[in-house]
Each structure stands twice: as structure tokens, then as C-alpha cells.
């Protein structure tokens, strides 16, 4: 994969090991997911050149950033980096921080301009303030704009929301979704939050104890029953869909995906708009025949692909095919037994709730 990102890195510090050999796409958002201490931040720092794994290899779109004794220092790599906590220079105003990046931006390629970055992150009214006068969320938005203004070819984000409370996260996520939608900029996004990964990721890398446990397209990887990181209540899949109909009477919108359609509460999406829908495993129940006497709106014909035990005692995970799309249901083992579920069996998937996450 000459066009992608290749990283082969080994680090051994007291109490910590990193050993990865990864090929990642250099398009869209690659979510690097794992609990703290899993090595995901170290991986990102090695790709940025902020940390050095002796003997490692880092290549980006055919360019060698680290190989043998060759090591391109951070300031010569075409990256932008957003740190976990806001990292604005305290002696410069928000505008001064942005100018710091603009003066050093890569002028060899078309660049995002100040107005575009400022509008994308909604920070125009903050430009003349010092970092000390900004809230945590505002500082992080300025930091993201600053990373964009350096005109990177790869944007690295290290848990940019982790230091913020839930409300501030909700304030920034839409801006991150803007980035993903509007810029053709590959992003490596480190996170330990299943919600952020589901909302932003296109490709998913799961890490634990310094190793990569799974790497693949988000939808496919999340639907794997052997997904190595136990998500518990957060287990679920992400489905890319298109709005194909709107029902004004009941205020519903139809989102079609490969193999079916779901009715969602209409939140103002236009016809033809692409949306990302998250379906949690705990919100799917299974039936052998179709019931029309329940309150559940979405009932889809499905086929059982695979059954596995959940980490929680007494529960099972069932992977289902709805057309070409995989869903995962979480039910009691007793139900799985009573319904005589087995690979190939036709069932009705009753989906209690779906969330549009984009």
C-alpha cells in the first residue's frame, strides 16, 4: 500500500510495550481505539516523530518518515497534531496562535484559508482573546483550527475531547464531523470513547497492551463478535445510509442502506443526504415471526450469521445479516436457546431505537 500509512514500531519501556505493524488508509478518519495504557497515544506520537521507536518504520504515501537511521524530525513532517489538553501558546491570543501556524504553513499545496478554518470551528468571536480567557472547549477548537492552518497532509488527533466534560464534548463533536465531511484530509483519531469512534471513524484500529487486535473498515469491524475490546452496553454497529423518504404526517424519515431501510425520527435531513446511523446491540430483539402489534417501528427480515457468548454472563451476541449489512443483537442465552437460533436461521430483527449520529 504505497498510498497509505505504514507503521512498524516496537517500543519497550519499563512496564510498557508497543509492538505494531499496521497498514492504514490515508483517506477518511481512522479511529485508533483502546483503553488508556493500550499504546494508542504512543503509536500516534511515533507517527508524529514526537517519540522515537528505535529500528521502527513509518511511511506515509510512499514517503519515508522513519526507516533505519533515517528519521524525519517532527517539524519536517507534513502533519497537524491536536493534543489531548488544549496546548495553545499562553502568550499569544487565539489569533496569534493561528498566525503562528499560518506563517509556517506548507505553501506548496492549496491551503485552507483563515476564514474557512475560523468558520469551520466557529471561533470568529474568540480571536482576540488570550487562551486564559477561553473555556476548555473553545481552546480546543482554536487548537484544531491551528492544526488545520499548518496545511497538513495528515491530521493526528490525540483524544482531543478526553479532557472535556460531556457538554463540551457535545459542543465540539459537530465541528469534528464538519472536518470529516468537508476536508479531504486523512485523520488519525485516538480515542477511548466508543461513541466518538462510532460517530467519526471510517476505519477502526483496536489496540490493547501495545498491540493491534483488529484493524478494518468501521462497520465491518464493529460487527465482529470477536471484537477484542469488550464494549458491554456500547456494543453496536454503525450503518451508512441515505435519506430516501420523509413522512410529514408522522415526522419520520426513511434511511436506506445496503439491504434495507430504517425509519427514524425526522430531524430535518434533506432527501438524498448521507447519514450515519448507530444501532446498539441491546436495542435489537429477535422474533421468529413478524409482529405488527408492537410499538416497534423498525422490523427487518434478517438471517443469523453467527452466535457468540457475551462477556456478561447469561448474555449472547448474535450477528445478523440484513441484506448486505451486518447488525449485532444482544440477548439472553435463554432466548437464544428457546428460539433455537443457529447460523442460517431466518428471524425478524425488532429494532427498538436507532440514533442518527451524523
Amino acid at each position: 500500500m504505497t498510498e497509505g500509512i505504514h507503521a512498524r514500531l516496537q517500543l519497550a519501556w519499563p512496564g510498557f510495550r508497543l509492538a505494531v505493524d499496521l497498514d492504514l488508509p490515508a483517506t477518511g478518519v481512522t479511529a485508533i481505539f483502546g483503553h488508556s495504557g493500550s499504546g494508542k497515544t504512543s503509536l500516534l506520537r511515533c507517527i508524529a516523530g514526537l517519540a522515537r521507536a528505535p529500528g521502527g518504520l513509518v511511511r506515509f504515501q510512499g514517503e519515508s518518515w522513519q526507516e533505519g537511521n533515517h528519521f524525519v524530525p517532527t517539524h519536517r513532517r507534513p502533519i497537524g497534531y491536536v493534543f489531548q489538553e488544549a496546548s495553545l501558546f499562553p502568550h499569544l491570543s487565539a489569533r496569534g496562535n493561528l498566525d503562528f501556524a499560518r506563517r509556517r504553513a506548507d505553501r506548496g499545496r492549496p491551503a485552507i484559508d483563515l476564514d474557512q478554518a475560523v468558520d469551520l470551528l466557529g471561533i470568529r468571536h474568540l480571536l482576540d482573546r488570550l487562551p486564559a480567557q477561553l473555556s476548555g472547549g473553545e481552546r480546543q477548537r482554536v487548537a484544531i483550527a491551528r492544526a488545520l492552518l499548518i496545511n497538513p497532509r495528515l491530521l493526528l488527533m490525540d483524544e482531543p475531547l478526553a479532557a472535556l466534560d460531556q457538554a463540551r464534548k457535545g459542543e465540539i463533536l459537530p465541528y469534528l464531523e464538519n472536518l470529516r465531511r468537508e476536508l479531504a484530509l486523512p485523520i488519525l483519531y485516538v480515542s477511548h470513547s466508543a461513541e466518538e469512534v462510532a460517530r467519526l471513524g471510517d476505519h477502526l484500529v483496536a489496540m490493547a497492551e501495545g498491540q493491534v487486535l483488529a484493524s478494518g473498515p468501521l462497520g465491518e469491524t464493529l460487527s465482529r463478535l470477536d471484537f477484542p475490546i469488550k464494549l458491554g452496553e456500547d456494543t453496536g454497529v454503525v450503518v451508512e445510509a441515505t435519506i430516501t423518504a420523509r413522512d410529514a404526517t408522522w415526522h419520520l424519515a426513511e434511511a436506506s442502506f445496503a439491504g434495507g431501510a430504517l425509519w427514524l425520527r425526522d430531524t430535518g435531513h434533506a432527501l438524498g443526504e448521507r447519514v450515519r446511523v448507530r444501532v446498539l446491540a441491546r436495542d435489537i430483539s429477535l422474533a421468529l415471526s413478524r409482529h405488527d402489534d408492537s410499538s416497534i417501528v423498525n422490523v427487518l427480515p434478517a438471517r443469523v450469521l453467527e452466535i457468540a457468548e457475551d462477556a456478561a454472563e447469561g448474555l449472547a451476541l448474535v450477528r445478523l445479516a440484513v441484506g448486505d449489512t451486518a447488525l449485532v443483537a444482544r440477548l439472553t442465552r435463554r432466548s437464544a436457546h428457546l428460539l433455537e437460533l443457529a447460523p442460517g436461521k431466518a428471524v425478524w430483527a425488532q429494532i427498538k431505537s436507532v440514533a442518527v449520529i451524523q
Partner: protein, 235 residues
């Protein structure tokens, strides 16, 4: 020579010595403080202790050894003679060398504290914004350590002005060449000229107070915008 002229000569010489010493110290102590703040070398503790020696040694001890080293028989003296510039004791250059060593800890300590307070993060951030090492030093480290640098300059300047023992040992008491204020005051007191001594001594008290007042006021203002002496508040 009239007494007033002698006073002005001593004042001028003192200010010149303090200014030159401060300039030399900022150039030398900044990289040294940077190294001390960031190194994990085994040499760090011995070097730090060596640099702090002038704090605890009596100035006469320091002055004595400098005199021996820089004198005609000392290694430094031999070297300067070989260079063709003679020996340093009893010259202005000798005073600068001695004051630089004597005031080193006063410049070093605030610089080192400021650099240590910076932490790794602003430098990493600057590197991800394509700033190379010199760019980082000039546009990130120096502005963030601004108050530390200012403290170092003020303390070095003020401490050099107050220097007495080392100067007496190494520079003697040559009016117009090496006779600084503190030595002039000493001469007046020796000669029972208390009025003259009062003028000079009182002037130094007022001057020192004003310098320190300015320093504290400046640090206070810096702290308000989040750039403390130690570069604190960089989050």
C-alpha cells in the same frame, strides 16, 4: 581631582560593569540554564553545585583564587599573556570576568526555573507547527520564559552593583579604572567622610529598592496574563 568627579566616575564605572556583566551573563547563562533544565546527564548535579558556589563562598575566597588564577603565574594569566593582552587583575576586563562568575547563580537560577516550568509540551506543539529548533527557541521559549529572563537580568545587574569583596581582591581601588561605588563608600567611611558615604550609600538603597519594585510589579502583570516567572500556566 574633585570629590564630585570621583563620585561620578565611580557611579559610571559601576553601571558600566553591571551592564557588561549582565549582558555577558545572559549570553552564557541562558544556554547553561537550558542544559541544566533539560539534561538527565550525570554531570548535572556537579555542574549545578559548581555554579552555585559563589552563593556560599565568601567573596574574598572567590577573589583570592581568581587573583591567583589570573595573575602572572596562574594558568589563566599565562594564557592571557600568551595572547598578548597582559594580565586581567586590576583591569576593567578582570572585573567583568570576576563579576560574571560572582553573579552567575543569580542569573542562572531564575532562568533554570523558567525553563523547567515550560515543560515539554509547548516545544512539542511548536514542532508539530513546523517550527525548527531555533524557531522554537526564539518564538516559544524566550517569550514564555520572558519573566525569568527579566528576573535574571535584574538580579545579575543589581547583584553586580552591590559587589564589594571580589572587586577589592581582584581590582583593587584604582579611581576611574576599577574603583566602583561600594569600594568608594568603603574609602569614605575609612576616611570618616560620612556625608559623602551617605550620599552614595543612600543612593544605592533607593536605587536597589526601585529596581526590585519594578521587578515585582512586572512579574505581577505577567502572572495575570498567565506567563509567570516560571512560565507557569502553559496549559
Amino acid at each position: 581631582m574633585s570629590g564630585a568627579l570621583l563620585h561620578w566616575q565611580a557611579i559610571w564605572l559601576t553601571l558600566k560593569l553591571a551592564a557588561v556583566t549582565t549582558a555577558v551573563l545572559l549570553v552564557l547563562a541562558t544556554p547553561l540554564a537550558w542544559w541544566l533544565a533539560r539534561t538527565s546527564s550525570r554531570l548535572k548535579q556537579p555542574v549545578a553545585a559548581l555554579c552555585a558556589l559563589p552563593l556560599v563562598l565568601p567573596p574574598t575566597v572567590l577573589g583570592f583564587y581568581l587573583l591567583v588564577l589570573m595573575g602572572p603565574q596562574g594558568p589563566v594569566g599565562q594564557f592571557t599573556q600568551w595572547l598578548g593582552i597582559g594580565t586581567l587583575p586590576f583591569t576593567f576586563a578582570g572585573l567583568v570576568v570576576a563579576s560574571t562568575i560572582y553573579s552567575l547563580p543569580f542569573a542562572l537560577q531564575p532562568l533554570q526555573t523558567a525553563f523547567e516550568g515550560l515543560g515539554e509540551r509547548p516545544l512539542e506543539v511548536a514542532a508539530t507547527l513546523r517550527a525548527g529548533p531555533w524557531d522554537r527557541a526564539v518564538h516559544v521559549v524566550l517569550p514564555l520564559a520572558r519573566n525569568g529572563i527579566l528576573s535574571a537580568a535584574v538580579l545579575a545587574f543589581a547583584h553586580t552593583i552591590g559587589e564589594f569583596g571580589v572587586v577589592l581582591m581582584i581590582g583593587g581601588n584604582i579611581p576611574g579604572a576599577t574603583q566602583v561605588l561600594s569600594v568608594a563608600i568603603f574609602n569614605h567611611v575609612e576616611a570618616m567622610e560620612y556625608i559623602e558615604a551617605h550620599w552614595l550609600a543612600g543612593g544605592m538603597v533607593v536605587f536597589s529598592f526601585l529596581v526590585l519594585l519594578a521587578l515585582y510589579a512586572f512579574n505581577q502583570r505577567g502572572a495575570r496574563i498567565g506567563v509567570g516567572t516560571g512560565g507557569a500556566g502553559h496549559d
